[in-house]
């Protein structure tokens, strides 16, 4: 059951839903973020977030605390909070990067967020009560090229980052005053800040392509990523030290999401979201869009609601 909604004529660069999926923040190749609310089955624009000086590259909406974080090519990020009048008020976050920000994600507990950038580093930001502002800490080594995608592990400490240096890495973002000491995971036991827990190649050896999307499974024990060589890879360090890769027949995928512990949904240049199972090797299950009509535009994101109903954004 797919619904199609149109949001203007420009490609949608990025989007984020609120907790109950009644509102969505969208940016369409511009400096502005528009917030739409679902009113009677149709989406109506209710607010405009206008603060960035150049193209907004990524948005994330914190479900519990109802805050929005946006990052843009102007090397800044803003955290937006709703005040008593219902207006969204921005707070600038100094990321200290000298290239554009590419992707942003709130941590599961929403006390931190990570920003990937073209400056080959990840900025992990947390709120410091004393000075009443957001502080950023950098993860630099050994990332060698633009960070293209990020995903948080449910323990709020581990962060997976895909990059255009053909590798997918898992880092620890443990911050002493903010996080509780994390328990041991299949990704490692000692987790000081910026520790590289694991570095994984896309595909085998030094083949591969840019990593476009990365996602942890709901338990955090598996990590899936998709790369530009039309491959899907899944790492399961508890059961197998080497990640499993499937070189698919389709055009490359741009985004990946675990639906449950054993299924992943991917979407990309084939205009169609697809389902793969990752139990015992990665296997194609089916295409999720059964209609024959070709929708225009490549898919960038797949978002899952609580019940496995897929809401797809097509630009």
């Amino acid at each position: 059951m797919t619904e199609k909604h149109s949001f203007g004529n420009e490609p949608i660069t990025c989007h984020a839903f609120n907790r109950d999926r009644t509102q969505v923040a969208i940016s369409s190749s511009s400096n502005q973020v528009h917030i739409y609310a679902l009113k009677g089955g149709a989406w109506e624009k209710v607010y405009e977030l206008n603060e960035h000086a150049s193209r907004v590259t990524s948005i994330d909406w914190a479900a519990q605390s109802n805050r929005i974080v946006t990052c843009a090519a102007d090397r800044n990020a803003y955290v937006w909070q709703r005040d008593s009048a219902g207006d969204w008020k921005p707070t600038l976050v100094i990321l200290r990067i000298n290239r554009a920000a590419t992707c942003v994600a709130w941590s599961p507990d929403e006390n931190k967020f990570a920003v990937g950038s073209g400056a080959r580093l990840i900025s992990v930001c947390y709120f410091e009560e004393q000075n009443d502002w957001w502080v950023s800490k950098h993860i630099k080594k050994p990332i060698r090229s633009t960070v293209t995608c990020l995903a948080w592990h449910p323990n709020n400490v581990l962060l997976a980052a895909g990059s255009s240096d053909f590798k997918c890495r898992v880092f620890s973002t443990y911050i002493k005053d903010i996080d509780k000491k994390p328990d041991a995971t299949p990704w490692g036991t000692k987790m000081p800040f910026a520790e590289l827990m694991l570095e994984l190649n896309t595909s085998n050896d030094c083949g591969g392509g840019w990593v476009h999307g990365v996602s942890f499974s709901p338990s955090g024990n598996k990590l899936a990523w998709v790369a530009h060589d039309s491959s899907i890879s899944v790492a399961d360090p508890a059961n197998n030290p080497i990640p499993v890769t499937l070189n698919t027949d389709f055009l490359p995928f741009r985004c990946v999401q675990f639906v449950n512990e054993n299924s992943i949904a991917v979407a990309g240049f084939d205009y169609c979201p697809m389902l793969f199972s990752c139990n015992r090797g990665i296997n194609f299950v089916r295409k999720l869009d059964q209609s024959e009509k070709k929708e225009a535009g490549k898919l960038r994101y797949v978002v899952f609601a609580v019940a496995p109903r897929v809401v797809v954004t097509i630009d």
């Binding site: 050896d205 591969g208 392509g209 060589d229 027949d249 055009l251």
Partner: protein, 150 residues
């Protein structure tokens, strides 16, 4: 006018070399591929066992080798094998290969396209047609993105 303003020598300086954060490819020092076994392939061809020749010639592609000659020799060998097939035999031959071998075959086909000879392009196109039916667009994408080149 002073002559030095006309000098364009500065355009030949590679500024990226001097950037300390420059991305350098991972140098893979481990393997030196020798490429497919020539004598084995030749013997299969003489016995008109094209299918076996194909399997052998696609088995050890010199992807890690830095020696351009090794790669060129391998390419010549592969093209010879591909040209030795009759049109009707191409489809069953492709069907007998596994996924990774089809990717390798695609890489050779595209390299073969780079240097067209009298009738090689037509035959290569037939191979391309059958290989892409099975390998899909993904195999062609991998020709473009895979850094292990034949």
């Amino acid at each position: 006018m002073s002559k030095s303003t006309l000098s364009t020598q500065f355009r030949k300086v590679d500024v990226d070399e001097y950037n300390e954060d420059n991305y350098t490819e991972d140098v893979d020092q481990t393997q030196e591929d020798a490429g497919p076994n020539e004598s084995e392939v030749n013997s299969y061809l003489m016995q008109a066992k094209n299918l076996d020749a194909l399997q052998v010639v696609l088995k050890n592609p010199p992807v890690h080798s830095k020696n351009q000659q090794t790669k060129d020799r391998a390419l010549e060998l592969v093209i010879r094998v591909l040209l030795s097939f009759k049109s009707s035999d191409i489809e069953p031959a492709v069907k007998s290969l596994d996924k990774d071998t089809i990717d390798t075959l695609m890489k050779y086909i595209y390299r073969g396209f780079e240097n067209p000879s009298e009738k090689s392009s037509a035959v290569l196109l037939q191979w391309h047609d059958k290989a892409s039916e099975i390998g899909g667009l993904g195999s062609i994408i991998r020709v473009l993105t895979d850094r292990k080149r034949v």
